[in-house]
């Protein structure tokens, strides 16, 4: 009697198996396939831009990277004579990014040190939020602010720098025109990269092993002594990685630079002088009125920018993730 009752309650016996159920097979297959979407997107971007821009690479050869001239003229016979070179734009992009790093990285490292080792807990929490907030500001806000508010100040600063340091070759100018210079664009970009460099550096500094910090203090180090002997060596690789992430951002920034830079297709080493080059901004500037051929050349320029930023970011991410791992 009692045994039949138990039999009724027990569920049907199932064979023990390690074979996944159909729902799991489907689930895992979908995830496996979808996880490659990022590869697909990256490959499609590189592939399409290279494919469309191939004509410009072929026609201009290596000069596409080195020549400074960019022109496309429709002649009397209706034929389009064009010569596309990005030399001025590439050097301009690198110059502006260098200025941005030169100003932005020291400020970011100091801010990160201040937040980690100096600021009281409450102030620190508030300021960390402000850093995140800065990162979420739209780039066009930096552009319009740079154009309206910062530009007059930067022109004044450029004049001051020129007055006292004008004897240094790259700080001289051929004629006194200081508006819309690479210097101004560099300052705007330096403000834009501060959040990312600061937050990466701060994360690394915060991981400094407490026992090493205490050991330094126990040996009689001052706060600065501790930072120099413990925190900076520990965080150096993370700071380098963060700076490279900032470089990646600085290379690809478009709208903010476009708003403040006078784009001219001539290589300009005088950073205070009123014109410069920038790949991303140049694409925006030329695209509206470009002919079919020129559009393809602009897509080729986009490909160059894509490859540059991708390489910088890949190296940067590797450096950062190594630094973070070694900290654990």
């Amino acid at each position: 009697m009692s045994s039949t009752l138990i039999e009724r309650v027990l569920p049907e016996k199932r064979a023990l198996t390690t074979k996944p159920r159909p729902s799991d097979v489907a689930f895992r297959t979908v995830l496996n396939v979808m996880s490659y979407s990022s590869l697909l997107i990256l490959a499609a971007i590189g592939g399409f831009l290279a494919f469309r821009g191939f004509g410009a690479f072929k026609e201009n050869g290596f000069g596409f990277i080195t020549h400074a001239e960019w022109s496309s003229i429709v002649g009397d016979n209706g034929k389009e004579v064009s010569s596309f070179g990005m030399g001025a734009m590439i050097t301009g992009t690198l110059i502006i990014a260098t200025i941005a790093l030169f100003i932005g990285v020291p400020l970011s490292v100091l801010t990160a040190l201040f937040l980690t080792f100096y600021a009281p807990e409450r102030l620190k929490r508030a300021l960390v939020t402000v850093v995140d907030l800065m990162a979420s500001f739209p780039s066009i806000l930096y552009g319009i602010w740079g154009f309206i508010v910062l530009a007059p100040m930067a022109t004044y600063w450029a004049k001051l720098v020129y007055k006292y340091l004008g004897w240094i070759p790259f700080l001289s100018v051929p004629s006194p025109a200081f508006d819309r210079s690479p210097f101004l664009a560099g300052i705007v970009l330096s403000i834009m990269i501060i959040p990312i460099v600061t937050s990466v550096s701060r994360e690394i500094f915060a991981q400094t092993p407490l026992e090493r910090i205490q050991a330094a203090y126990a040996l009689g180090a001052t706060r600065w002594g501790m930072i120099r002997a413990v925190a900076l060596p520990f965080g150096a690789s993370g700071v380098v990685g963060g700076a490279m992430l900032g470089l990646g951002r600085a290379l690809g920034e478009t709208v903010a630079v476009y708003s403040v830079l006078n784009i001219v297709f001539k290589i300009n080493w005088h950073i205070l002088y009123g014109y410069g080059g920038n790949i991303a901004s140049m694409i925006v500037q030329k695209f509206g009125e470009a002919s079919f051929t020129e559009k393809k050349a602009l897509l080729a320029a986009g490909f160059v920018l894509f490859v540059m930023t991708l390489l910088v970011n890949m190296v940067a991410n590797t450096v950062v993730s190594r630094a973070v791992k070694s900290g654990k």
């Binding site: 895992r28 490659y36 100091l110 300021l127 319009i144």
Partner: protein
């Protein structure tokens, strides 16, 4: 018997006697600062700031040197430099916010939120026209870009946290690489792939595709972080009760991480809401509301600002500031909402 409560003492805390010379030195530096600027030919804000720093840091150093010696003086200088660096780094935020509010408020009137630009152009007086078409366009873009990017991002994040297959490291690397794609490249990619050689024209869906590319890495990384916060015990408990992995993920892991996933989407939206560059290639133009996302041009808040800035006239730039104020309010709202959700990333009922 009277009981006495012994309060904990903090002998390391600075006493009034310690703090007096510090603030005294700062006050002295401020006075000297004004005097020097008034007397010498050095003028302007830079002179005030720079001299105040030199005097302030110098006095502090001298004090420390006298009381504690050379190393304490160097330590004090390093502290001053760190404070100065942080101050310089945070000053632009104040200026950005203050300028946007002051300049943006000028062009705001109730109709700004209800009128479109078909009744006015950028040179019209500021009490004509508005941004309703741009607000609708931006909302459309946000919804479409989220619909496109959310499945891809969450599935990739689930792959990275639940399956942890052989390719995990590689996929992680690619997602990080994707987060570095310049926004202009996303725009010209969609243009080159879908618009250059076809009869298609710029429309909301095209711009949403470009924005989705920028949104995917942000959402994936945040989603991955919150999924990792779901305790491993929950997964094991699900499997031990006989649920399949699919059931465990769908009924336990994802619901547990729900708030965090919402945060991930909001952060992604905040990332793309203000993007301008991709729109220039993919959005087309419209000065009134376009309810059809698949054909015809569209407007958007960043594009409205861009056009105002490009217009270059005083009224155009005033409109741009008002547009950026509306955009900034949107981004700040998203930011605050993400914070509120983000403080409780994983909620277990």
């Amino acid at each position: 018997m009277a009981t006495t409560t012994v309060l904990p003492r903090k002998p390391w805390k600075a006493t009034k006697a310690d703090l007096f010379p510090v603030f005294g030195a700062l006050a002295l530096a401020a006075i000297l600062d004004f005097v020097v600027v008034a007397v010498t030919p050095m003028k302007g804000k830079i002179a005030y700031v720079l001299l105040f720093f030199i005097f302030g840091a110098g006095f502090q150093m001298a004090l420390k040197w006298r009381n504690l010696g050379k190393r304490a003086a160097i330590d004090s200088l390093a502290g001053s430099v760190a404070i100065a660096g942080a101050t310089i780094a945070f000053t632009p935020v104040l200026s950005l916010l203050a300028t946007t509010i002051v300049k943006g408020a000028k062009g705001l009137y109730p109709g700004f939120f209800f009128h479109d630009m078909s009744v006015a152009n950028y040179q019209s007086p500021l009490n004509q026209g508005g941004v309703i078409q741009a607000i609708v366009g931006t909302l459309y873009l946000i919804i479409l870009a989220t619909l496109i990017s959310l499945p891809l991002s969450v599935l990739t994040a689930l792959y990275l946290t639940e399956i942890r297959g052989k390719a995990s490291g590689f996929i992680q690397f690619l997602v990080q690489a994707m987060s570095g794609i310049p926004s202009v490249v996303a725009g010209i990619f969609i243009y080159s792939a879908l618009l250059l050689t076809t009869s298609l024209r710029g429309s909301t869906i095209m711009a949403a595709l470009a924005l989705a590319i920028l949104m995917i890495p942000t959402v994936t990384r945040t989603a991955q972080e919150v999924l990792l916060l779901v305790p491993q015990d929950l997964r094991e408990a699900g499997l031990a009760l006989g649920a399949t992995q699919w059931k465990t993920v769908a009924t336990i892991v994802v619901p547990a991480a729900r708030n965090g996933l919402i945060t991930a989407v909001i952060l992604g939206v905040a990332r793309i809401a203000g993007e301008t560059a991709p729109l220039l290639f993919t959005l087309g133009v419209s000065n009134k509301i376009n309810w059809n996302p698949f054909s015809g041009g569209q407007s958007a808040l960043p594009y409205y600002v861009w056009s105002g800035l490009g217009d270059g006239t005083e009224l155009g730039i005033d409109r741009a500031w008002s547009g950026i104020l509306v955009l900034l309010m949107l981004v700040l709202t998203l930011f605050v909402v993400a914070r509120v959700f983000g403080t409780r990333k994983v909620k277990i009922k």
